[in-house]
Each structure stands twice: as structure tokens, then as C-alpha cells.
């Protein structure tokens, strides 16, 4: 028991240590990745010192060489100063000059490898690693690949030069080179490990987000923002979105855990949601009123965007940070996060990864919802088919029983009872026909038509028997053939209006007039009851109040209004027939 307990304690402690080490390494590495220009500066300085030491030994060998060594050392100092100067330049200048400087770095590093063989090859190679990294960030992968290729070619060709290094005693500098190698190698290893941990962290965050997306019915934007500020450490984040079909806009800000829904001027909203100059992620800063983004070729571009940056500061109170778009389903959104970026290409690329992860989660959410909806529809259809089957079986059985009674006991039945049974048979037959029409999807799918007067006449007969009221149908277009699907909806509307009128207003005599006009079907229901009685929710004066009637009207894209007409109430319906 005690051993098991100790073992568990040991496992927990070990896990905690691993977590702490991972966290520390990640922090160092993320800092290294972010401060890559600084790392380059350090390796550049190291290379300069190494070259100076080597050249210092050549200083006394000949007078001709002395002048070259002096000039070389001046150039090296200048090279380092320019590198340092570029770091403190304004971002616009830095973005333009840094690529040139990187090319110089690459040329110097390659020259050193070619001329000095093993003595300076190592510091030169170490210097070229951050150069390649930055080239990849600034000028894209092809530039970094070109540098790597150049290094390989240089290494292959270096024996063709008379190496200056062979005249030097390498063992004197071995300790120094070893120490440099350990320091720089450690920095690079930590940076790479940190990059790996960060990539793992984003990957785990993405998986977590996708799992949430697949398991919840609604993916609220506030929860999404909480996840964003977790992965991009920030206090404030905002999401603005538009639902394309409904043109419904929304804005939500989460500031230190509190939610706000500020109102934005439509023009500012449009400019912030769909900036004309960027369809991807960008970094912004209110101090310079500029944004940093990648152009279509993948190169970094720093450009002024005072209006948008000003809009972000005014509306969202964000002075600096990053922004990225989201496209999922019929939602177009953009997220703004307050995040210190120091114009880092690394942060910009991370935004792209985060945006992709959120889109994946939203897509997963949409897919799961679509499958759920589809399954529900299929289940409903199956249930409905079972129910209809059962009802049709029962109706058929009733009809057979009635027919049997009518025949087998014809002599014993009183006249009134016989009439009742025959009426019931008619009612059952009508319900069977109606139900069959509803179920006959194939005919409707093949665009079959049916006579409107026949359908409404049959419906009126059924209503008269069901409700025991008077119902007249006057059709002024008796030959009109209506699409079977629309005919069923019209029939449903007819039934719904009558049911409302009878149940809620005690209607006893209803007239329906039907006519065609300008590619629309006009229906006029008149409830001939005396004014003063309780009015029907369906045939009320003015707006239609019955939800069931309104649902039917919506399905037919129909317009309707109710009005009093003498002692009657009139409901007029206009159903457009064109698609």
C-alpha cells in the first residue's frame, strides 16, 4: 500500500518536473524564436571575433597581407554595426534593409567557409542558421532553400582554394571554438525544442477545440474567444462576424473575462471585417498606424492603414495586436487579439495556424450539426412512415368491418344506423385518399399536377362530414391544374382555417371563393357568423393571429389579411404560383 502510494507520488512529482522543464524550455525557445534578430546579432559578433583572432595571427606574416587584414577588420566592424543599427531602425526601414543585410550575412558566411576551412567553418555555419531562419520568414522558403544549397556547394568546393587556415595552429583555438560551439548549439537546441513545444501546444489546443466543436450543439463565440486568449496570451480579444445568408452582423469583445457588445458604425464594421488590402492575418500597431502582412508571394509587407488601426483603437480599445479571418459555413468572421508582437513574422505565422485550427473546429461543428439534422430528418421520416402505415391499416380495417356489417346485417339495421355507417365509410374513404396523397412523394417529385377544384371539392366534403358545418367552394377557374405539392399545401391551409373558425369562433357556414390573377392564386374565406360573437383567431380583423395558419401561409409564401365585411369576416389570401 505504502509502496504503491510512494510510486504514485513519484509519478506525480516526475510529471510535474517534466511539465516544469517543458514549460521553461518552451519559454526560452519562444523567446529565442521571437528574438531571432538578436540571436543573429550574437552569432554575427561571434563570427567576427573568430575571424579577427585568425586574421590577427596573419597580421605579421607579410606587409601586403597586413593591409588586407586591416581593411577586412574594418569591414567586419562595419558589418556588425550595420546589423545592430538595422535592429533599431523604424519597422518600415527595417523590413526593407533586413533582407539586404541577410544576403550580406549569407555571402560573408559562405566566403568564410570557402576560405578558412575547418577553423572558421563552424562559427560561420552557426551564423548561417539564424540567417536561413530569418530568410525563410522574410523572403519565403525558396530563399532559405537557396542558402542551404549554396552552403552545400561551398562545402564541396572549398578544397579548391588555398586555405589560409592551414598555416595556423588549430589546436590553440580548439578550446575557444568548443566553448562557442556549446553556447551557440545550446541556444539553437533550446530554440528548436521551444519551437517544437510551441507547435505541440498549438496542435493540442487545435485537437481540443475540434473535439469541442464536434460535441456541442452551439459553438458560442465567447467560448471561442476564451480559447483564443488562452493560446495567444492576451487580456482582450474580439470577434466580429456576418452571417452571409441573413446579412446578420455581430460583435463581441471579451475584456479580462468580461463580455461587451459595443456598437460600431456600419462603415467601420465593414472596413474591419473585410479590409480591402488583406484577406489573411495581419499585425497592427497604433503607435505607427501600420499593419504587417504577407503579400500574395508570401513576402512581408508593412503598410500604413491609419483608418483601420484607428478604428480598431476607437471601437475595440486595442492599441496593438493581431487579427485573422475565419470562414466557416455561412459565417465570415475576423478575430482581433491584443498581443505584443514586435512586428514578428513568427507571431504572424502563428496567427495563421490558430485561424486554421478555429476554422477546423467550426467546420467540424458544422459537419456534426449537418449529420445530426440529417439523422433527425431521417428518423422523423421513418417514424412518420410507421405512423402513417398504422393509421392506413386501421382505416382499411374499419372500412372492411363497416362494409361487412352493412352487408351481413342489412336486414337488421335501422335506417338511421345504416346512414350513419355509410357516412362513416365515406369519411374513412376520404381520409384514406387524403393520407395516400400525402404519402405519395414519388408523384410530387415527378412534378405531377392535379385539379384544384377536385382537390378542394373533396376537402370541403370531408370538412362538412368532420365538423358538421356548411361549407361551399366556388371555383372560378375549374380547369386549373395545380402542382401536386402546392395543392396539398393549399388543402392544408383550407383545413387549418376551417378548424380555427369552427373551434374558436363556432363558425357554422363558411364559403371559399377561388380565382387566378396575375400568376397568383387568390383564396377568399368568408365566415358567415354574426358580428358580436367571439371572433376567430384565424379570421380576426387585421393581422392573422393563429400560429398554425401563419405557418401554412409561410410555406406557401402567401400574403393574407382579415377584414370585416358586413356581418361576416373575410380572410383574403394571395399565393404566388411562380417560383
Amino acid at each position: 500500500m505504502s509502496l504503491a502510494s510512494d510510486s504514485r507520488v513519484g509519478q506525480v512529482a516526475s510529471g510535474a518536473v517534466q511539465h516544469r522543464v517543458g514549460h521553461t524550455l518552451k519559454g526560452v525557445a519562444v523567446a529565442a524564436a521571437r528574438w531571432l534578430p538578436g540571436v543573429l546579432l550574437a552569432t554575427r559578433l561571434l563570427l567576427t571575433i573568430a575571424i579577427s583572432i585568425v586574421l590577427g595571427n596573419l597580421h605579421g606574416t607579410s606587409s601586403g597581407l597586413r593591409e588586407i587584414v586591416n581593411w577586412t577588420q574594418v569591414i567586419l566592424v562595419g558589418w556588425n554595426l550595420v546589423g545592430l543599427l538595422i535592429l533599431v531602425l523604424p519597422p518600415r526601414m527595417e523590413l526593407r534593409l533586413q533582407p539586404l543585410m541577410l544576403v550580406c550575412d549569407a555571402m560573408i558566411g559562405l566566403t568564410v567557409i570557402a576560405l578558412f576551412q575547418s577553423v572558421l567553418s563552424l562559427p560561420a555555419l552557426l551564423c548561417l542558421i539564424p540567417v536561413g531562419w530569418l530568410l525563410q520568414q522574410r523572403l519565403g522558403t525558396p530563399a532559405a532553400a537557396s542558402l542551404a544549397l549554396s552552403v552545400i556547394v561551398t562545402l564541396l568546393l572549398r578544397d579548391r582554394f588555398e586555405p589560409w587556415g592551414v598555416i595556423l595552429e588549430f589546436s590553440r583555438y580548439r578550446g575557444l571554438v568548443d566553448a562557442d560551439t556549446v553556447v551557440i548549439g545550446s541556444i539553437i537546441a533550446v530554440a528548436m525544442a521551444g519551437a517544437f513545444f510551441r507547435a505541440e501546444e498549438i496542435r493540442a489546443w487545435r485537437e481540443h477545440l475540434i473535439a469541442i466543436g464536434g460535441n456541442v450543439r452551439d459553438l458560442p463565440f465567447n467560448q471561442l474567444l476564451e480559447h483564443v486568449v488562452e493560446v495567444l496570451p492576451a487580456h482582450t480579444a474580439a470577434i466580429m462576424w456576418r452571417e452571409i445568408e441573413s446579412d446578420k452582423d455581430g460583435l463581441l469583445v471579451v475584456r479580462r473575462g468580461r463580455q461587451e457588445q459595443p456598437h460600431l458604425d456600419p462603415a467601420v464594421f465593414q472596413a474591419m471585417l473585410f479590409p480591402t488590402w488583406a484577406d489573411g492575418e495581419y499585425l497592427f500597431s497604433g503607435t505607427s498606424n501600420k499593419v504587417l502582412l504577407r503579400n500574395r508571394l508570401g513576402a512581408l509587407v508593412l503598410q500604413p492603414a491609419a483608418d483601420v488601426v484607428g478604428g480598431i483603437a476607437d471601437a475595440l480599445e486595442l492599441r496593438y495586436g493581431c487579427s485573422f479571418p475565419l470562414i466557416a459555413g455561412n459565417v465570415r468572421a475576423r478575430i482581433y487579439v491584443e498581443h505584443g508582437h514586435h512586428w514578428s513574422a513568427h507571431v504572424l505565422d502563428e496567427c495563421g495556424l490558430i485561424a486554421g485550427a478555429i476554422e477546423d473546429a467550426m467546420e467540424r461543428h458544422s459537419v456534426m450539426n449537418a449529420w445530426r439534422d440529417r439523422s433527425l430528418v431521417e428518423a422523423r421520416h421513418a417514424l412518420s412512415a410507421d405512423l402513417h402505415d398504422s393509421v392506413l391499416q386501421t382505416l382499411a380495417a374499419l372500412r372492411l368491418r363497416f362494409e361487412t356489417i352493412l352487408r351481413s346485417q342489412s336486414d337488421d339495421l335501422r335506417s338511421g344506423l345504416r346512414d350513419d355507417l355509410e357516412s362513416l365509410v365515406t369519411l374513412v374513404t376520404a381520409e384514406q385518399t387524403h393520407l395516400r396523397q400525402l404519402l405519395d412523394v414519388t408523384r410530387r417529385q415527378h412534378g405531377a399536377t392535379q385539379s384544384l377544384s377536385e382537390a378542394l371539392g373533396r376537402c370541403a366534403d370531408l370538412i362538412i362530414k368532420q365538423w358538421g358545418i356548411q361549407c361551399q367552394v366556388a371555383i372560378h377557374c375549374p380547369d386549373f391544374q395545380l402542382n401536386a405539392a402546392t395543392a396539398i399545401e393549399v388543402e392544408f391551409l383550407f383545413r387549418e382555417v376551417i378548424a380555427n373558425a369552427v373551434q374558436h369562433a363556432g363558425a357554422q357556414n363558411i364559403t371559399l371563393a377561388v380565382n387566378l390573377q396575375d400568376d397568383a392564386l387568390l383564396l377568399a374565406f368568408r365566415d358567415n357568423h354574426e358580428i358580436g360573437r367571439e371572433s376567430s383567431p384565424a379570421l380576426d380583423n387585421g393581422a392573422i393571429q393563429s400560429n398554425s395558419v401563419l405557418t401554412r401561409l409561410r410555406k406557401l409564401r402567401a400574403h393574407a389579411y382579415a377584414d370585416t365585411l358586413g356581418k361576416s369576416v373575410l380572410l383574403s389570401v394571395r399565393i404566388p404560383l411562380s417560383a
Binding site: E363, S366, V367, D389, Q393, T394, L395, R407, T433
Partner: protein
């Protein structure tokens, strides 16, 4: 007096039909409420005609028909059902079904069908036959997938979208720019009348 065997698992309908046929068709009527019971009764004695429901709890009328034909029993069979799919109609006719009537038909129609079948003829409900004809006409046409209306490039893109790839990944894989992929995706959505990748995945996978 002709002898009829009715097989139906709906007790109310079974009893109603038994009474109706006994009264109107002057027939001797036996009833089975399952496929299994029907097979046992057929082993005991063959009727002059059988009336089968299509959907039953322990099997379908078509399965029963297939089994009795496999045993070499040529007794005329009438399918009496609430609903029959066109392909089931065609299958039933292939198995030598003599009559098909819907349960909601006029009972006189059922009587006429029984008389015709007992006389050696066939009688199929007009609506059932119409649906079967419509089905056989449309079945002759080549099956069209929803994605048939797409160009080859769009089909390739739709396939990658169904695999869950993002625009950027698709662009990398096909050697296109992300902008071009977006244009293609928009065109696919428009042609397939879907609003999202999710809808595209659900609709075209099911189709």
C-alpha cells in the same frame, strides 16, 4: 367454395378482412399472423389463393412468396399492402405474383382481384403499376452523381474538401494559389447548391 389463406400481422385488419371475404366472396378463409405460421399452414394444406401483406414483423410477403415458389408451390398470390415500393412490385411480378391491391382501395376492388386471380388471371392496382413504370423508366437512365455537373478540376477539389483539407493545403497539393482554390470552391458551392464545406461533405457523401 374457394379456400383462401390470408397472411397479415395486423390483427384488426386480419379479422376485418376475414369477415369481409367470408361474407362477400363466399370463401373459406384461414388466417396466419406471421410468415412462419403461414409456412406451417401451407405444409398442412394448400389453399386456392393466398393474400399476403408485404411488411410483417418476421419477414416480408416477398420473402414468403420466394420461399413458396422455391418449394414448387404455384398457388396464385395476391399482395395486399398499405404501400409497396416500385422495385418490390417488379420483384413480385418476377416471382409470379398474380395480383397487387392497396389496402385503402375500395373493398370491391379487392373482391374483383380475388375473383380474377381465382379464375387464373392477373390484376394489379393501376397506381402501383404507374409507379413501377415510372421507376423502370428512370432506372434505365445512367445513375447521376451530384458531382457530375462539376469540371474535372472541381471534382478533384471537391474530393480533397471531402477529405477535410483546408484551402491552403489544397493549394499546396495541387500547385495552385490559395486565391485560385477559393474561386474553385465558390464555383463548386454554387453548382452543388451548398453553403458550406460541411454541407458538401454530408450531401455528396450520402449521395
Amino acid at each position: 367454395m374457394p379456400e383462401l389463406l390470408i397472411v397479415d400481422d395486423h390483427p384488426l385488419f386480419l379479422e376485418g378482412l376475414r369477415q369481409f371475404l367470408a361474407t362477400h366472396a363466399q370463401a373459406e378463409v384461414r388466417c396466419a399472423s406471421s410468415v412462419e405460421q403461414a409456412l406451417v399452414m401451407l405444409d398442412a394444406k394448400l389453399p386456392d389463393a393466398m393474400i399476403l401483406d408485404v411488411m410483417m414483423k418476421d419477414g416480408t410477403g416477398l420473402q414468403l412468396l420466394s420461399k413458396i415458389r422455391a418449394r414448387g408451390i404455384r398457388t396464385p398470390v395476391i399482395l395486399l399492402t398499405v404501400m409497396i415500393q416500385p422495385e418490390q412490385t417488379l420483384e413480385a411480378l418476377k416471382l409470379g405474383c398474380s395480383g397487387i391491391t392497396l389496402k385503402e382501395s375500395n373493398p370491391q376492388e379487392l373482391l374483383a382481384c380475388v375473383e380474377t386471380v381465382l379464375a387464373g388471371g392477373t390484376r394489379v392496382d393501376a397506381r402501383v403499376m404507374e409507379l413501377a413504370l415510372m421507376h423502370s423508366v428512370s432506372a434505365g437512365q445512367p445513375h447521376r452523381s451530384p458531382t457530375d455537373i462539376l469540371t474535372e478540376r472541381e471534382k478533384e477539389l471537391a474530393g480533397l474538401i471531402r477529405k477535410g483539407l483546408r484551402n491552403r493545403e489544397i493549394a499546396d497539393r495541387l500547385g495552385l494559389s490559395e486565391g485560385t482554390v477559393k474561386v474553385h470552391v465558390h464555383s463548386i458551392f454554387k453548382k452543388l447548391k451548398v453553403r458550406s464545406r460541411a454541407e458538401l461533405i454530408v450531401n455528396t457523401n450520402a449521395g
